[in-house]
Protein backbone atom coordinates (compact mmCIF):
# COMPACT_ATOMS: atom_id res chain seq x y z
CA UNK A 1 0.00 0.00 0.00
CA UNK A 2 1.23 3.47 -0.86
CA UNK A 3 2.27 5.67 2.05
CA UNK A 4 -0.34 8.24 1.08
CA UNK A 5 -3.06 5.59 1.20
CA UNK A 6 -1.86 4.50 4.65
CA UNK A 7 -2.02 8.08 5.87
CA UNK A 8 -5.48 8.69 4.40
CA UNK A 9 -6.73 5.40 5.80
CA UNK A 10 -5.50 6.43 9.24
CA UNK A 11 -7.27 9.82 9.00
CA UNK A 12 -10.45 8.15 7.74
CA UNK A 13 -10.61 5.95 10.85
CA UNK A 14 -11.35 9.00 13.03
CA UNK A 15 -13.65 10.95 10.70
CA UNK A 16 -17.41 11.32 11.12
CA UNK A 17 -18.95 8.37 9.27
CA UNK A 18 -21.26 10.38 7.00
CA UNK A 19 -18.59 12.71 5.60
CA UNK A 20 -15.71 10.21 5.58
CA UNK A 21 -15.40 9.46 1.86
CA UNK A 22 -15.97 13.05 0.83
CA UNK A 23 -13.32 14.46 3.18
CA UNK A 24 -10.80 11.77 2.25
CA UNK A 25 -11.32 12.37 -1.48
CA UNK A 26 -10.64 16.08 -1.00
CA UNK A 27 -7.66 15.52 1.29
CA UNK A 28 -6.27 13.05 -1.22
CA UNK A 29 -6.39 15.67 -4.02
CA UNK A 30 -4.61 18.17 -1.76
CA UNK A 31 -1.84 15.78 -0.73
CA UNK A 32 -1.35 14.32 -4.22
CA UNK A 33 -1.04 17.86 -5.57
CA UNK A 34 1.56 18.70 -2.93
CA UNK A 35 3.52 15.52 -3.71
CA UNK A 36 3.40 16.24 -7.45
CA UNK A 37 4.54 19.84 -6.93
CA UNK A 38 7.48 18.62 -4.88
CA UNK A 39 8.32 16.01 -7.53
CA UNK A 40 8.34 18.69 -10.21
CA UNK A 41 10.50 20.89 -8.00
CA UNK A 42 13.03 18.10 -7.35
CA UNK A 43 12.77 16.53 -10.80
CA UNK A 44 12.31 13.03 -9.38
CA UNK A 45 10.00 10.83 -7.32
CA UNK A 46 9.85 11.40 -3.57
CA UNK A 47 11.44 9.08 -1.06
CA UNK A 48 9.37 7.74 1.85
CA UNK A 49 11.00 10.24 4.19
CA UNK A 50 10.16 13.16 1.89
CA UNK A 51 6.55 12.03 1.59
CA UNK A 52 6.39 11.65 5.33
CA UNK A 53 7.58 15.26 5.72
CA UNK A 54 4.46 16.35 3.80
CA UNK A 55 2.20 14.29 6.07
CA UNK A 56 3.98 15.62 9.16
CA UNK A 57 3.23 19.16 8.03
CA UNK A 58 -0.41 18.17 7.72
CA UNK A 59 -0.44 16.72 11.24
CA UNK A 60 -1.06 13.42 12.94
CA UNK A 61 -4.11 11.59 11.55
CA UNK A 62 -6.19 11.87 14.69
CA UNK A 63 -5.64 15.63 15.01
CA UNK A 64 -6.38 16.14 11.30
CA UNK A 65 -9.66 14.25 11.61
CA UNK A 66 -10.58 15.95 14.87
CA UNK A 67 -10.55 19.34 13.14
CA UNK A 68 -13.58 18.15 11.19
CA UNK A 69 -15.23 16.89 14.37
CA UNK A 70 -14.67 19.96 16.50
CA UNK A 71 -17.93 20.58 18.30
CA UNK A 72 -16.81 23.04 20.96
CA UNK A 73 -17.65 20.54 23.73
CA UNK A 74 -15.21 20.29 26.61
CA UNK A 75 -14.90 18.92 30.11
CA UNK A 76 -15.14 21.84 32.47
CA UNK A 77 -15.75 21.99 36.18
CA UNK A 78 -15.65 25.71 36.79
CA UNK A 79 -12.33 25.72 34.98
CA UNK A 80 -11.46 23.82 31.84
CA UNK A 81 -10.09 20.30 32.45
CA UNK A 82 -10.09 18.97 28.88
CA UNK A 83 -10.41 21.61 26.18
CA UNK A 84 -12.47 21.39 22.97
CA UNK A 85 -9.31 20.56 20.98
CA UNK A 86 -8.68 17.34 22.90
CA UNK A 87 -12.24 16.45 23.89
CA UNK A 88 -13.21 14.49 20.72
CA UNK A 89 -9.97 12.46 20.97
CA UNK A 90 -10.70 11.86 24.67
CA UNK A 91 -14.18 10.52 23.93
CA UNK A 92 -12.91 8.32 21.12
CA UNK A 93 -10.03 6.81 23.11
CA UNK A 94 -12.15 6.32 26.20
CA UNK A 95 -14.79 4.43 24.21
CA UNK A 96 -12.15 2.23 22.53
CA UNK A 97 -10.49 1.51 25.88
CA UNK A 98 -13.78 0.61 27.54
CA UNK A 99 -14.72 -1.79 24.73
CA UNK A 100 -11.30 -3.49 24.95
CA UNK A 101 -11.62 -3.54 28.75
CA UNK A 102 -14.92 -5.42 28.62
CA UNK A 103 -13.49 -7.98 26.17
CA UNK A 104 -10.27 -8.53 28.16
CA UNK A 105 -12.09 -8.87 31.49
CA UNK A 106 -14.61 -11.31 29.99
CA UNK A 107 -11.81 -13.46 28.51
CA UNK A 108 -9.88 -13.35 31.80
CA UNK A 109 -12.94 -14.38 33.83
CA UNK A 110 -13.61 -17.26 31.47
CA UNK A 111 -9.99 -18.47 31.58
CA UNK A 112 -9.92 -18.22 35.38
CA UNK A 113 -13.31 -20.02 35.66
CA UNK A 114 -14.58 -17.08 37.71
CA UNK A 115 -18.29 -16.19 37.71
CA UNK A 116 -19.25 -13.00 35.83
CA UNK A 117 -20.16 -10.32 38.37
CA UNK A 118 -20.96 -6.67 37.89
CA UNK A 119 -18.18 -5.74 40.32
CA UNK A 120 -15.54 -7.56 38.24
CA UNK A 121 -16.40 -5.25 35.32
CA UNK A 122 -17.27 -2.01 37.08
CA UNK A 123 -14.12 -1.50 39.17
CA UNK A 124 -11.56 -1.85 36.32
CA UNK A 125 -13.80 0.20 34.01
CA UNK A 126 -14.09 2.94 36.61
CA UNK A 127 -10.28 2.90 36.96
CA UNK A 128 -10.03 3.08 33.17
CA UNK A 129 -12.24 6.17 33.05
CA UNK A 130 -10.24 7.81 35.86
CA UNK A 131 -6.86 7.03 34.27
CA UNK A 132 -7.81 8.13 30.73
CA UNK A 133 -9.41 11.31 32.10
CA UNK A 134 -6.33 12.11 34.20
CA UNK A 135 -4.02 11.52 31.22
CA UNK A 136 -6.07 13.93 29.09
CA UNK A 137 -6.24 16.52 31.87
CA UNK A 138 -2.44 16.29 32.06
CA UNK A 139 -2.15 16.60 28.26
CA UNK A 140 -4.42 19.63 28.31
CA UNK A 141 -2.31 21.14 31.07
CA UNK A 142 0.94 20.39 29.19
CA UNK A 143 -0.43 21.99 26.02
CA UNK A 144 -0.04 25.30 27.79
CA UNK A 145 3.66 24.66 28.42
CA UNK A 146 4.74 22.60 25.45
CA UNK A 147 2.31 24.24 23.01
CA UNK A 148 3.46 23.62 19.48
CA UNK A 149 6.02 20.97 20.40
CA UNK A 150 3.26 18.75 21.74
CA UNK A 151 0.91 19.48 18.87
CA UNK A 152 3.61 18.42 16.39
CA UNK A 153 4.16 15.05 18.09
CA UNK A 154 2.22 12.18 16.60
CA UNK A 155 0.65 10.71 19.70
CA UNK A 156 -0.90 7.67 18.02
CA UNK A 157 0.77 7.19 14.61
CA UNK A 158 -0.70 4.58 12.28
CA UNK A 159 1.28 1.35 12.49
CA UNK A 160 2.12 1.46 8.76
CA UNK A 161 3.86 4.85 9.11
CA UNK A 162 5.46 4.38 12.53
CA UNK A 163 8.78 3.29 11.02
CA UNK A 164 9.22 6.77 9.52
CA UNK A 165 8.69 8.62 12.78
CA UNK A 166 11.47 8.94 15.35
CA UNK A 167 10.17 8.49 18.89
CA UNK A 168 9.86 11.76 20.79
CA UNK A 169 12.68 11.90 23.37
CA UNK A 170 10.37 13.29 26.07
CA UNK A 171 8.15 10.24 25.62
CA UNK A 172 11.01 7.77 26.07
CA UNK A 173 12.53 9.78 28.93
CA UNK A 174 9.31 10.00 30.97
CA UNK A 175 8.66 6.31 30.32
CA UNK A 176 12.22 5.49 31.43
CA UNK A 177 11.68 7.29 34.75
CA UNK A 178 8.35 5.55 35.42
CA UNK A 179 9.56 2.12 34.32
CA UNK A 180 12.90 2.63 36.12
CA UNK A 181 11.13 3.32 39.40
CA UNK A 182 9.04 0.17 39.00
CA UNK A 183 12.14 -1.92 38.26
CA UNK A 184 13.95 -0.39 41.23
CA UNK A 185 10.99 -1.26 43.47
CA UNK A 186 11.14 -4.86 42.27
CA UNK A 187 14.94 -4.99 42.78
CA UNK A 188 14.62 -3.78 46.36
CA UNK A 189 11.93 -6.30 47.41
CA UNK A 190 14.38 -9.08 48.51
CA UNK A 191 16.26 -6.59 50.71
CA UNK A 192 13.19 -4.75 51.98
CA UNK A 193 10.19 -7.16 51.98
CA UNK A 194 8.26 -4.38 53.73
CA UNK A 195 7.88 -2.81 50.24
CA UNK A 196 5.42 -5.62 49.48
CA UNK A 197 4.29 -6.81 52.89
CA UNK A 198 3.76 -3.40 54.43
CA UNK A 199 3.22 -3.25 58.19
CA UNK A 200 2.69 -7.05 58.32
CA UNK A 201 6.39 -7.62 57.47
CA UNK A 202 7.51 -8.76 60.98
CA UNK A 203 4.76 -11.40 61.13
CA UNK A 204 4.90 -12.84 57.61
CA UNK A 205 7.54 -13.73 55.01
CA UNK A 206 7.66 -14.06 51.23
CA UNK A 207 6.80 -17.54 49.96
CA UNK A 208 9.33 -19.66 47.96
CA UNK A 209 7.41 -18.89 44.74
CA UNK A 210 9.08 -15.47 44.78
CA UNK A 211 12.49 -17.12 44.24
CA UNK A 212 11.12 -19.00 41.25
CA UNK A 213 9.44 -16.05 39.54
CA UNK A 214 11.56 -13.14 40.72
CA UNK A 215 14.12 -13.18 37.88
CA UNK A 216 11.62 -13.69 35.00
CA UNK A 217 9.53 -10.73 36.22
CA UNK A 218 12.70 -8.65 36.66
CA UNK A 219 13.69 -9.55 33.11
CA UNK A 220 10.31 -8.40 31.72
CA UNK A 221 10.63 -5.11 33.62
CA UNK A 222 14.26 -4.65 32.54
CA UNK A 223 13.33 -5.13 28.87
CA UNK A 224 10.83 -2.25 29.13
CA UNK A 225 13.25 0.03 30.99
CA UNK A 226 16.15 -0.84 28.67
CA UNK A 227 14.07 -0.13 25.57
CA UNK A 228 13.14 3.32 26.86
CA UNK A 229 16.77 4.09 27.77
CA UNK A 230 17.98 3.05 24.31
CA UNK A 231 15.27 5.13 22.61
CA UNK A 232 16.29 8.23 24.56
CA UNK A 233 19.72 7.88 22.92
CA UNK A 234 18.50 6.49 19.58
CA UNK A 235 15.00 7.85 18.83
CA UNK A 236 15.30 6.53 15.26
CA UNK A 237 15.29 2.90 16.48
CA UNK A 238 11.52 3.05 16.53
CA UNK A 239 11.15 -0.71 15.83
CA UNK A 240 12.53 -1.40 19.30
CA UNK A 241 9.45 -0.04 21.06
CA UNK A 242 6.77 -2.43 19.76
CA UNK A 243 9.11 -5.42 19.59
CA UNK A 244 10.51 -5.04 23.12
CA UNK A 245 7.16 -4.22 24.69
CA UNK A 246 5.37 -7.05 22.91
CA UNK A 247 7.98 -9.53 24.12
CA UNK A 248 7.94 -8.06 27.65
CA UNK A 249 4.13 -8.02 27.83
CA UNK A 250 3.63 -11.54 26.50
CA UNK A 251 6.47 -12.94 28.61
CA UNK A 252 5.22 -10.99 31.63
CA UNK A 253 1.66 -12.27 31.13
CA UNK A 254 2.79 -15.91 31.03
CA UNK A 255 4.98 -15.51 34.13
CA UNK A 256 2.30 -13.66 36.08
CA UNK A 257 -0.35 -16.20 35.07
CA UNK A 258 1.60 -19.02 36.72
CA UNK A 259 2.88 -16.86 39.59
CA UNK A 260 -0.70 -16.13 40.70
CA UNK A 261 -1.41 -19.82 41.28
CA UNK A 262 1.06 -19.92 44.21
CA UNK A 263 0.78 -18.60 47.75
CA UNK A 264 2.75 -15.36 47.92
CA UNK A 265 3.07 -15.02 51.67
CA UNK A 266 3.68 -17.47 54.52
CA UNK A 267 3.45 -16.88 58.29
CA UNK A 268 6.85 -16.20 59.87
CA UNK A 269 5.77 -18.29 62.86
CA UNK A 270 3.35 -21.00 61.64
CA UNK A 271 2.49 -22.16 65.17
CA UNK A 272 0.56 -18.97 65.88
CA UNK A 273 -3.02 -19.07 64.54
CA UNK A 274 -3.20 -15.26 64.40
CA UNK A 275 -0.15 -15.09 62.12
CA UNK A 276 -1.73 -17.70 59.88
CA UNK A 277 -4.84 -15.52 59.49
CA UNK A 278 -2.71 -12.44 58.87
CA UNK A 279 -0.75 -14.30 56.16
CA UNK A 280 -4.01 -15.26 54.46
CA UNK A 281 -5.24 -11.67 54.57
CA UNK A 282 -1.96 -10.31 53.18
CA UNK A 283 -1.99 -13.03 50.53
CA UNK A 284 -5.49 -12.03 49.39
CA UNK A 285 -4.55 -8.35 49.32
CA UNK A 286 -1.38 -9.02 47.32
CA UNK A 287 -3.12 -11.28 44.80
CA UNK A 288 -5.71 -8.55 44.23
CA UNK A 289 -3.03 -5.84 44.06
CA UNK A 290 -0.52 -7.66 41.86
CA UNK A 291 -2.73 -9.94 39.76
CA UNK A 292 -6.05 -8.11 39.79
CA UNK A 293 -8.06 -7.46 36.60
CA UNK A 294 -6.13 -4.20 36.06
CA UNK A 295 -2.94 -6.21 35.31
CA UNK A 296 -4.64 -8.39 32.69
CA UNK A 297 -6.37 -5.36 31.28
CA UNK A 298 -3.07 -3.52 30.93
CA UNK A 299 -1.24 -6.53 29.48
CA UNK A 300 -4.16 -7.34 27.16
CA UNK A 301 -4.48 -3.83 25.74
CA UNK A 302 -0.74 -3.17 25.38
CA UNK A 303 -0.08 -6.69 24.03
CA UNK A 304 -2.69 -6.20 21.30
CA UNK A 305 -1.52 -2.68 20.44
CA UNK A 306 2.21 -3.52 20.31
CA UNK A 307 1.52 -6.76 18.44
CA UNK A 308 -0.34 -4.70 15.83
CA UNK A 309 2.56 -2.24 15.61
CA UNK A 310 5.04 -5.12 15.13
CA UNK A 311 3.27 -6.39 12.02
CA UNK A 312 4.45 -3.71 9.53
CA UNK A 313 8.07 -4.16 10.71
CA UNK A 314 7.80 -7.90 10.18
CA UNK A 315 6.21 -7.36 6.75
CA UNK A 316 9.06 -5.02 5.80
CA UNK A 317 11.59 -7.57 7.04
CA UNK A 318 10.03 -10.29 4.90
CA UNK A 319 9.87 -7.94 1.88
CA UNK A 320 13.54 -7.12 2.27
CA UNK A 321 14.36 -10.68 1.27
CA UNK A 322 12.73 -10.00 -2.09
CA UNK A 323 13.61 -7.30 -4.56
CA UNK A 324 12.96 -4.13 -2.58
CA UNK A 325 14.06 -1.28 -4.79
CA UNK A 326 10.97 -0.12 -6.61
CA UNK A 327 12.30 2.99 -8.27
CA UNK A 328 15.79 4.45 -8.32
CA UNK A 329 17.69 7.21 -10.00
CA UNK A 330 20.35 9.87 -9.75
CA UNK A 331 19.83 13.61 -9.75
CA UNK A 332 22.76 16.03 -9.55
CA UNK A 333 25.01 13.25 -8.33
CA UNK A 334 22.62 12.26 -5.53
CA UNK A 335 21.48 8.66 -5.70
CA UNK A 336 17.94 8.06 -4.49
CA UNK A 337 15.72 5.03 -4.18
CA UNK A 338 12.12 4.34 -3.28
CA UNK A 339 11.15 1.09 -1.66
CA UNK A 340 7.93 -0.61 -2.64
Amino acid sequence: MELLDCYLKAVKRYLPRRQRDDIIAELSVELRSQIEDKQVELGRGLTDVEQMAIFKKQGDPMSVAMRYRRTGRSLSVGWELIGPELFPAYLLLLSCNLVIAVIVIAVFLMLAHTPFTLQAFLIPMFMEVVIVTLVFILLNFLRGFLGRKLSHSWMWPPAELAHLLPLPRWYSATGFIASGLLTLWWLLIPHFPRLVLGSAAPEVKLAPAWHQYYVPVLLALAIGTGQRAVNVIRPDWNWLLPMARFVADCGGAVVMFFFRTHALVLPANPSRAQTEQLAQAVNGRLIWGLFGPWLWLYLGITGLVYGWYCLPYLRRLVRRHHNTVHEAGEVNGIVWKRES
Binding site: D22, V29, E30, Y68
Partner: protein, 117 residues
Protein backbone atom coordinates in the same frame (compact mmCIF):
# COMPACT_ATOMS: atom_id res chain seq x y z
CA UNK B 1 13.78 34.70 29.10
CA UNK B 2 10.54 33.27 30.50
CA UNK B 3 8.85 36.65 30.11
CA UNK B 4 10.02 36.78 26.49
CA UNK B 5 8.53 33.37 25.79
CA UNK B 6 5.29 34.30 27.53
CA UNK B 7 4.95 37.56 25.60
CA UNK B 8 5.66 35.86 22.28
CA UNK B 9 3.00 33.29 23.15
CA UNK B 10 0.53 36.07 23.99
CA UNK B 11 1.38 37.75 20.68
CA UNK B 12 0.94 34.46 18.82
CA UNK B 13 -2.51 33.89 20.37
CA UNK B 14 -3.62 37.45 19.58
CA UNK B 15 -2.24 37.20 16.05
CA UNK B 16 -4.19 33.99 15.46
CA UNK B 17 -7.34 35.59 16.82
CA UNK B 18 -6.86 38.60 14.54
CA UNK B 19 -6.20 36.38 11.52
CA UNK B 20 -9.19 34.09 12.09
CA UNK B 21 -11.83 36.59 11.01
CA UNK B 22 -9.67 38.03 8.24
CA UNK B 23 -9.12 34.58 6.73
CA UNK B 24 -12.85 34.03 6.38
CA UNK B 25 -13.19 37.29 4.46
CA UNK B 26 -10.15 36.41 2.32
CA UNK B 27 -11.50 32.92 1.51
CA UNK B 28 -14.93 34.29 0.61
CA UNK B 29 -13.36 37.01 -1.53
CA UNK B 30 -11.09 34.54 -3.37
CA UNK B 31 -14.02 32.27 -4.09
CA UNK B 32 -15.78 34.86 -6.20
CA UNK B 33 -13.86 32.87 -8.81
CA UNK B 34 -14.43 29.12 -8.68
CA UNK B 35 -11.46 27.18 -7.34
CA UNK B 36 -10.59 23.90 -5.65
CA UNK B 37 -8.89 23.68 -2.27
CA UNK B 38 -5.29 23.35 -3.39
CA UNK B 39 -5.36 26.26 -5.86
CA UNK B 40 -7.28 28.38 -3.38
CA UNK B 41 -4.61 27.77 -0.75
CA UNK B 42 -1.86 28.64 -3.24
CA UNK B 43 -3.67 31.78 -4.36
CA UNK B 44 -4.03 32.93 -0.75
CA UNK B 45 -0.37 32.16 -0.06
CA UNK B 46 0.70 34.08 -3.19
CA UNK B 47 -1.21 37.09 -1.86
CA UNK B 48 0.60 36.78 1.48
CA UNK B 49 -2.05 34.90 3.45
CA UNK B 50 -0.63 31.47 4.27
CA UNK B 51 -3.25 29.05 5.53
CA UNK B 52 -2.60 25.43 6.37
CA UNK B 53 -4.72 22.62 4.97
CA UNK B 54 -5.92 21.60 8.40
CA UNK B 55 -7.55 24.99 8.82
CA UNK B 56 -8.73 25.62 5.27
CA UNK B 57 -10.70 22.45 4.53
CA UNK B 58 -12.76 22.36 7.75
CA UNK B 59 -13.39 26.12 7.21
CA UNK B 60 -14.63 25.50 3.66
CA UNK B 61 -16.99 22.83 4.95
CA UNK B 62 -18.28 25.11 7.67
CA UNK B 63 -18.89 27.95 5.20
CA UNK B 64 -20.67 25.56 2.89
CA UNK B 65 -22.88 24.28 5.72
CA UNK B 66 -23.73 27.90 6.47
CA UNK B 67 -24.82 28.29 2.85
CA UNK B 68 -22.12 30.82 1.96
CA UNK B 69 -20.34 28.49 -0.48
CA UNK B 70 -21.51 26.01 -3.07
CA UNK B 71 -19.36 23.08 -4.15
CA UNK B 72 -19.25 20.58 -6.95
CA UNK B 73 -17.10 17.53 -7.73
CA UNK B 74 -15.71 17.74 -11.25
CA UNK B 75 -12.95 16.05 -13.20
CA UNK B 76 -9.95 18.16 -14.12
CA UNK B 77 -6.60 16.89 -15.38
CA UNK B 78 -7.86 13.30 -15.01
CA UNK B 79 -8.60 13.79 -11.33
CA UNK B 80 -11.83 14.42 -9.47
CA UNK B 81 -11.67 17.70 -7.61
CA UNK B 82 -14.11 19.55 -5.44
CA UNK B 83 -14.63 23.08 -6.76
CA UNK B 84 -15.95 25.81 -4.48
CA UNK B 85 -17.55 29.10 -5.36
CA UNK B 86 -19.36 31.84 -3.53
CA UNK B 87 -23.13 31.30 -3.31
CA UNK B 88 -25.59 34.21 -3.73
CA UNK B 89 -26.00 34.26 0.07
CA UNK B 90 -22.21 34.27 0.38
CA UNK B 91 -21.93 37.23 -1.95
CA UNK B 92 -24.37 39.18 0.18
CA UNK B 93 -22.55 38.30 3.42
CA UNK B 94 -19.18 39.11 1.84
CA UNK B 95 -20.45 42.56 0.91
CA UNK B 96 -21.61 43.15 4.47
CA UNK B 97 -18.33 41.87 5.89
CA UNK B 98 -16.32 44.12 3.60
CA UNK B 99 -18.41 47.14 4.68
CA UNK B 100 -17.73 46.20 8.30
CA UNK B 101 -14.06 45.78 7.50
CA UNK B 102 -13.94 49.27 5.99
CA UNK B 103 -15.66 50.74 9.05
CA UNK B 104 -13.22 49.04 11.43
CA UNK B 105 -10.30 50.15 9.29
CA UNK B 106 -11.46 53.76 9.24
CA UNK B 107 -12.03 53.75 13.01
CA UNK B 108 -8.64 52.18 13.67
CA UNK B 109 -6.89 54.74 11.43
CA UNK B 110 -8.66 57.49 13.29
CA UNK B 111 -7.72 56.06 16.71
CA UNK B 112 -4.09 55.59 15.68
CA UNK B 113 -3.86 59.12 14.27
CA UNK B 114 -5.32 60.55 17.49
CA UNK B 115 -2.77 58.63 19.58
CA UNK B 116 0.12 59.75 17.36
CA UNK B 117 -1.13 63.31 17.17
Amino acid sequence: MATGTASSEVFENLRLELRRGCLIVAVLAQLRIEQYGYTLRKALADDGLEIDEGTLYPLLRRLETQGLLASQWREEEKRNKRFYRLSPAGEQILGQLLDEWQRINTSLDKILQEVQG
